[in-house]
């Protein structure tokens, strides 16, 4: 049976999805729950209009289905033939939406008032976007790394230059002694066999 759309200009359709919201812990939707709903709506109307006269009888329910959906209209407490306009009902619901949801352990998505859209949560805008913080950390580390690198290469260079001027003589001896397989040979090297005269002197 396709769900009907009532010609009810001042009524709202409510749809409840208990199993989606609560799964195993879903309670049964029965007449007592319907009564609870009427009471909650009456509370919402009282809260919005700040009139203590709204009662359970002012909330009229109809077309209940096993989906769990139904229509409701709100009558004025002074005159039961007069219906409260849709816009006012909407404002009342919006004001107490959070309380209504919590009463039934449901959420905006599982307790739907068709036609009343949930207000979107305001986006949380932190002062500094979090990514800039991480970026700052990484770039800081990189800069420190670059500086360390440049300093270490400068120090190495200076050490090399110092080493060259101080023991230039010793270095030459080392080369000439011959480093075979990384082991310094003992003994004196016979300079007669050095090939520092590769080219015949003319």
């Amino acid at each position: 049976m396709v769900s009907k759309t009532l010609n009810a200009p001042n009524g709202y359709k409510v749809r409840i999805s208990l199993k989606t919201a609560l799964g195993e812990d879903a309670y049964e939707w029965n007449q007592s729950e319907m009564f609870f709903f009427q009471a909650t709506m009456a509370f919402a109307m009282r809260r919005h209009f700040q009139m203590e006269t709204y009662n359970v009888d002012n909330i009229i329910l109809c077309v209940q289905t096993s989906r769990v959906s139904f229509w409701f209209v709100v009558t004025s407490p002074d005159n039961t033939t007069m219906l409260i306009p849709k816009a006012d009902v909407e404002k009342a619901v919006r004001m107490s939406r959070h309380r209504i949801n919590n009463a039934f352990l449901l959420s905006d998505r599982t307790l739907e008032f068709l036609g009343i859209y949930p207000t979107l949560a305001a986006p949380v805008n932190p002062d500094t976007p979090p990514w800039l913080i991480v970026f700052g950390v990484v770039i800081g580390a990189v800069c420190v790394g670059i500086i360390a690198l440049l300093i270490s290469s400068l120090l190495q260079k200076r050490r090399k230059e110092k080493g060259m001027t101080e023991d230039g003589q010793d270095e030459e001896d080392m080369q000439v002694k011959g480093v075979e397989n990384g082991i310094n040979l003992d003994g004196t090297y016979n300079r007669g066999f050095t090939d520092d005269d590769r080219f015949t002197k003319l």
């Binding site: 769900s3 199993k19 096993s66 989906r67 979107l120 800039l132 990484v138 990189v142 480093v179 397989n181």
Partner: protein, 639 residues
């Protein structure tokens, strides 16, 4: 005409002889840098070969070409094409002990163009590859938040609803195309530089600079982390992935063999191209890295090991990726079905639980029988698991859209996001080491920088230059430029260069001399397998792949996919034709590295002929005096 005769009689004078090599080895003289240990060398090569392509290209190829059946052409071509080319590059680099320009000009001066071509390709690839690193860093920086920014659509300006572009597509698409790239609708609009991307771009190049500033002295240390971390992260993801619902659907989808694909020539072509690009051949980086080895290093064994590792990593990464993709596809499928079920429940006021995933089809069928017009009016979505599994699973789409979406569905998403992007960063960085090596060493060989400059200065200048040129890729249209560079700069020239390499070594350097070299280096002559593959099989395969690639690229009108919110099929990317001025760029990208081989040869030949007479006498003198010291001293003593 003298220059047409390919005489190689001066070859011995240009390359170190065996005695000189032994001397270098034993005395440890010579100013060429060396690896601290074998592990560093292997990790660097593995890092260079194992890159983003293993993660986002191979799984896609595998799945689209018949799953498990794709392994067959992949493995066959790995053995016939990948391993021989790899062994060749390792051996020639180890023997001649120079970077790419040095090696080829030593083999024959007319072949210097091969080295220059390698350098150009490495340069072009480095430019855009590091932009991908910048994108990865951006996502990494943004992963340190409790709700990942790509998990939900932002609210629009007047807080009445979600941003329309995001609502029509999806939060991950919106985050990638709008908040990260801020893409323009076509390549003509540059869109200006995106400041946040410029920051990430600069930090990517700065990080690279630290790692390469002293050549292998610094990269050798960095690779201990960048080459091993990806494997650790892949394993963690595998364990996590296997515990998620639907992961096995993904793995099954990946590996289900479809033997009919083997009849399709595109499968074999794609397998060949994937093996080739995956090994980073012809970039010059492998040559350089091998030249720092000791002379008697067993390059044959290395080539085989690296090939096995590369192939195995590709398969492993594919498995991991597809467990996560399977999970995402299953989630999307479940959401799709739940959405449809809810619509049915709401329309027909049926109690919850009446329609479930199991009886959905039956119920839909019976309802369609009784109320066909109502069902039509509902516009129920068709939920097909296979179509979710095949969505966007290649390239940047995989990493930044599909995978990030999957991560948002996993519990403790920020942790997985951080891990994933660190892994991508390490994979890319280790490949960048090889790319930059292929640029820096030839520049030094060509003498572009003064000799007095320290290594850090050369590396720094190159990085700054590449960073500045790379700013093309961080403007609004940067994404389109990047895919342009990728399709044309990083494909055809490499095939040409690799083919010339093989021919150059086998026929110009001489396969016999090459065999002797290998015998000298590792102790035994290369066996029949190497002989056949080097001489005939591998060059033939390269040639076939090149011809087919060239024909396909030339025949099709170059198109690109643009993100255009105004287009009709909006969330689907719009296929647009490139404007005519792009063809000049395409020619520069594909033509210059490829043409550098013949052009340099002609240039050298002409120069040789011009100044030949003057130089001949001087050259001969120097050669006899410098290269034969022993002879003269003997004569000296005799006299």
């Amino acid at each position: 005409m003298r220059c047409l005769q390919v005489s190689n009689q001066d070859l011995e004078e240009r390359i170190p002889s065996y005695e000189e090599l032994e001397k270098l080895e034993n005395e440890e003289a010579g100013d060429r840098p060396k690896w601290d240990n074998k592990a560093q060398y292997m990790l660097t090569i593995v890092g260079f070969c194992v890159g983003l392509g293993n993660v986002w290209r191979f799984p896609y190829l595998c799945q689209s070409h018949g799953g498990g059946a794709f392994m067959i052409p992949f493995l066959i071509l790995l053995v016939l094409e990948g391993v021989p080319l790899l062994h060749l590059e390792f051996a020639i680099g180890q023997r001649l002990r120079k970077g790419s320009v040095g090696v080829w000009s030593a083999i024959h001066p007319y072949l210097t163009g091969i080295g220059i071509g390698s350098m150009c390709v490495s340069f072009l690839v480095s430019l855009y590859y590091n932009t991908i690193m910048a994108w990865v860093m951006w996502y990494f920086f943004n992963s340190f938040q409790e709700t990942l920014p790509w998990s939900q659509c932002p609210v629009n300006a007047n807080m009445t609803g979600l941003v329309s572009e995001c609502e029509r597509s999806s939060p991950v698409d919106y985050y990638w195309y709008r908040e990260t790239l801020n893409t323009t609708p076509d390549i003509d609009n540059t869109g200006g530089l995106q400041w946040w991307m410029v920051l990430c771009h600069v930090s990517a190049w700065a990080l690279l600079f630290i790692c390469i500033s002293r050549g292998i002295e610094t990269t050798g240390k960095a690779v201990y982390i960048t080459s091993t971390l990806p494997y650790a992260v892949l394993t963690i993801f595998l364990i996590r992935g296997l515990t998620l619902k639907g992961s096995l659907n993904g793995v099954k989808f990946l590996f289900t063999p479809d033997m009919n694909e083997l009849m399709n020539p595109t499968t074999w072509l794609d397998a060949g191209a994937q093996v080739f690009y995956s090994f980073s051949l012809a970039f010059g980086g492998l040559l350089s890295f091998s030249s720092y080895n000791s002379v008697h290093n067993n390059c044959e064994q290395d080539a085989v090991i690296i090939s096995i590792v590369n192939g195995a990593t590709a398969v492993y990464a594919a498995t991991v990726i597809y467990t996560i993709i399977g999970f995402r596809a299953t989630e999307k499928f479940d959401d799709c079905i739940s959405g449809n079920i809810l619509t049915l429940l709401n329309t027909f006021d049926l109690p919850e639980g009446n329609v479930t995933e199991n009886n959905y089809d039956q119920v839909l069928h019976s309802l369609n029988g009784t109320y066909p017009e109502v069902i039509q009016g509902l516009n129920l979505k068709t939920c097909d698991l296979n179509s979710f599994l095949s969505e966007g699973v290649e390239g940047t789409g995989l990493a930044f859209i599909v995978f990030t979406e999957a991560i948002t569905k996993m519990p403790v998403s920020p942790v997985w996001s951080v891990l994933f992007f660190i892994m991508l960063f390490c994979l890319g960085l280790s490949s960048m080491f090889g790319n930059i090596e292929g640029v820096l060493v030839p520049l030094q060989d060509l003498g572009v920088f003064p000799k007095s400059w320290p290594k850090e200065a050369i590396a720094g200048t190159t990085c700054v230059l590449c960073c500045l040129v790379g700013l093309i890729f961080v403007q609004g249209s940067g994404n389109y430029w990047l895919s342009l560079f990728d399709s044309y700069g990083g494909s055809i020239p490499l095939l040409i260069i690799a083919f010339c390499e093989m021919v150059g070594v086998v026929y110009l350097y001489g396969i016999d001399r090459f065999n002797d070299d290998i015998e000298f280096m590792i102790g035994h002559k290369p066996n029949l397998f190497w002989q056949i593959t080097w001489r005939f099989v591998s060059p033939a395969i390269m040639f076939v792949i090149f011809v087919f690639y060239f024909i396909t690229k030339v025949q099709e009108t170059p198109m690109y996919k643009a993100w255009n919110p105004e287009s009709e099929n909006f969330p689907t990317l719009e296929e647009k034709e490139y404007p005519s001025w792009i063809f000049a760029i395409i020619f520069i990208l594909a033509g210059i590295p490829g043409l550098s081989v013949p052009l340099t040869a002609i240039y050298k030949c002409l120069r040789n002929r011009c100044c030949k007479k003057d130089n001949e006498f001087k050259q001969d003198d120097l050669n006899t005096i410098a290269k034969q010291p022993l002879k003269l001293t003997l004569i000296d003593t005799l006299l």
